[in-house]
Amino acid sequence: MRPVVIAPTPVVEGVAVPFDYANVDTDAIFPVSADEIARREGFGRALFARWREADPGFVLERPRYAGASILVAGPDFGVGSSRESAVWALTGAGFRAVIAPSFGDIFRSNCARNRLLAATLDSAACAELREELSARPGARVSIAVSEGRLTGPSGRVFEVGVGEFARACLVDGIDEYDLLARRRARIEEVLARREHLLRPTTRVARPEPSGEHG
């Protein structure tokens, strides 16, 4: 099933979930064991599948957070794998933003490319925001992406880090295929200088069918 495509938008607004976990890895966000069902029935089905199953009181299962679109997490969200399915699980389940003190590098890069806002907020402020949200379950939050401004449930404004490239992806909706295609000649120039080293790759293409497992 095709990952959810999000349209460019300058503002992300919705119910925010206080997600009091640090160091959430990509395998927790999207377990490999859920891959099959995700590809058949939609990636959102796989979001935190194990945690949902193991704990009926898991925060994302609570009715007050039904339809939530913003996750406010602890530090180091999305460490681990490059599998973009972790991002697709979040967007598939309706999330449009994750706020955390820090992120796994590849995960954050994948977020921008799917227009899932992954914005940083300093650790203390992020903890305070989670407290505000815990005190008012189901409260809404709004984020002005270009300005990097998050307005919390009490009206308090937090400065969040968006990053120039992510902003361009989310607000301008840049198309990387197009951007790269327009630089094709110069890319070819760089590659041509290295061609003598790279011819081997095509030689590997000939099949060598003698490695039968057994």
Partner: protein, 469 residues
């Protein structure tokens, strides 16, 4: 202003591939080698279809089946999921003209094992793959990093991508390793000392006497674990060992191309006086084998140690993560590591599935038996590694010890092919991630070197080779 500024190894390679720096944003980077596998490529090919695009440079790409393929023979070993994924990859590669090493090919194996093994990964090149452990290839002096599926599509279409230029970090490893300590133990010591996100945003260059003394395969283990340190890439300057390693590879450049390549590689080192954004030194003199106790690779301690008390950790986030880890791992603070019983052992993966790893494990197992009740598996990192091991008689050693001798693939490292541990099982594993559920829902993973995994399988509890009678 000096005409020739001193540059780091990373900067030399990155700048040679940089096409342009976008205003306030990422660089456009040309990619020499694009490796693909069945799990993270389908949606990228779909996107090319949707846009009516072709693969611009199929000769710079190579696909292989590793993540979900079975490690047992026969049609029955294939899950429906794996069969579908393999079919899709075969169809996509055929239609787009991408070279493929399918299941059953003599050169098939885990993508990060076969790249170096075939002589495709070369010093000075840029290598990407839809897999975070692409950092492995940096051991040969390449800028190599994992990308998501969106970017897999970009590289297929244009042989380039947009990437933020990382900051640079040098990690100097000084001293002489203690008996039995390997590249894996160095990585776990480094990550546990500084944290699993310390390297975030950096390209990490490893150097120092310890690295110089390491075999190329040990260097791969170290660079492989860079992502568990938070860094997208780790790299090591090529030296005589590197050239010797590549010279023995079937698809390396030959003739005049080889001479030109070696001349270029001789310049591939960080210049004296070049500045890094960050430099750290880790003295690993006398380092002994390490093992993880928790659910991220920073949760590691020497095998001689005991499970730590989460409340003794320095930050709230570390305490929260450790508390959660101990509940999942069903461990109590203060438990000596050697008292932790295991019921499974796995040797393999892009971290520790190469021939030296298998030799080290077999050395421990020779004349010994796996403890009753322990299920033990070895999945060689590639079909070539498997063949070499069989040539050396290692398969007999593993079998005689009670290990299952499997085919090559990611197997129990990602548990996507049907090789999976039952809930509650506790494994000593030569892999890279001890995340919750990584080897099966509810399964518990202790990361170790291959020799320590073998020793643990024999002892029936976490152990090193020195613990065996």
């Amino acid at each position: 202003m000096a005409l020739t500024a001193q540059r780091t190894l990373f900067e030399k390679i990155w700048d040679a591939h940089r096409v342009e720096t976008l205003p306030g944003g990422p660089d456009v980077l040309a990619i020499d080698l694009h490796l693909l596998h069945e799990m993270t490529s389908p949606e990228a090919f779909d996107e090319l279809d949707r846009r009516g695009l072709s693969v611009r440079h199929p000769g710079h790409s190579l696909a292989v089946m590793d993540h979900v393929v079975p490690t047992l023979p026969g049609e029955d070993a294939w899950t429906d999921f794996a069969r579908g994924m393999a079919h899709d990859l075969r169809a996509h590669c055929a239609r787009f003209g991408v070279p493929l090493l399918p299941f059953g090919d003599a050169r098939q194996g885990i993508v990060h094992v076969i790249g170096p093994e075939l002589g495709l990964t070369l010093p000075g090149s840029t290598v990407v793959c839809g897999d975070s452990h692409t950092s492995t290839h940096g051991a040969l002096g390449a800028v190599a990093f994992g990308i998501g599926t969106s970017q897999v599509g970009h590289v297929l279409a244009e042989q380039a991508l947009l990437a933020d230029r990382p900051k640079t970090m040098r990690v100097r490893l000084t001293g002489t390793l203690g008996h039995g300590a390997t590249g894996k133990d160095v990585a776990l010591a480094l990550i546990s000392r500084h944290g699993n996100q310390f390297g975030a945003g950096y390209a990490v260059e490893y150097g120092g006497a310890v690295v110089e003394a390491m075999s190329v395969e040990q260097r791969m283990t170290l660079c492989n674990m860079s992502i568990e340190f938070g860094a997208r890439m780790g790299l090591i300057a090529p030296d005589a060992r590197t050239v010797e390693y590549v010279a023995a590879r079937p698809f390396r450049p030959v003739g005049a191309d080889w001479d030109a390549a070696v001349a270029e590689w001789n310049e591939l080192h960080t210049d004296e006086g070049a500045a890094f954004d960050r430099e750290i030194t880790l003295d690993v003199n006398g380092l002994t084998p390490y093992v993880t106790w928790g659910t991220n690779p920073a949760h590691a301690i020497p095998l001689d140690g005991a499970v730590p008390d989460p409340d003794s950790l320095p930050t709230e986030a570390a305490r929260e993560s450790a508390h959660r880890a101990l509940i999942y791992m069903d461990l109590a603070p203060g438990t000596p590591v050697r008292e932790i019983a295991v019921d499974a052992a796995f040797i393999g993966s892009c971290t520790n599935g190469r021939i030296e790893d298998l030799r080290a494990a077999a050395e421990v197992l020779r004349g010994r038996r796996v403890a009753p009740g322990v299920r033990a598996l070895v999945a060689p990192g590639s079909t070539a590694v498997r063949r070499e091991a069989e040539h050396e008689g290692l398969d007999e050693v593993f079998r005689a010890a009670g290990f299952e001798w499997r085919g090559s693939g990611c197997s129990l490292c990602v548990a996507g092919n049907g090789d999976i541990l039952p809930p509650g099982a506790r494994a000593a594993s030569s892999t890279n991630r001890n995340f919750e559920g990584r080897q099966g829902t509810g399964a518990r993973t202790h990361l170790m070197s291959p020799a320590c995994v073998a020793a643990s399988a024999v002892a029936g509890h976490l152990a090193g080779p020195g613990d065996l009678a």
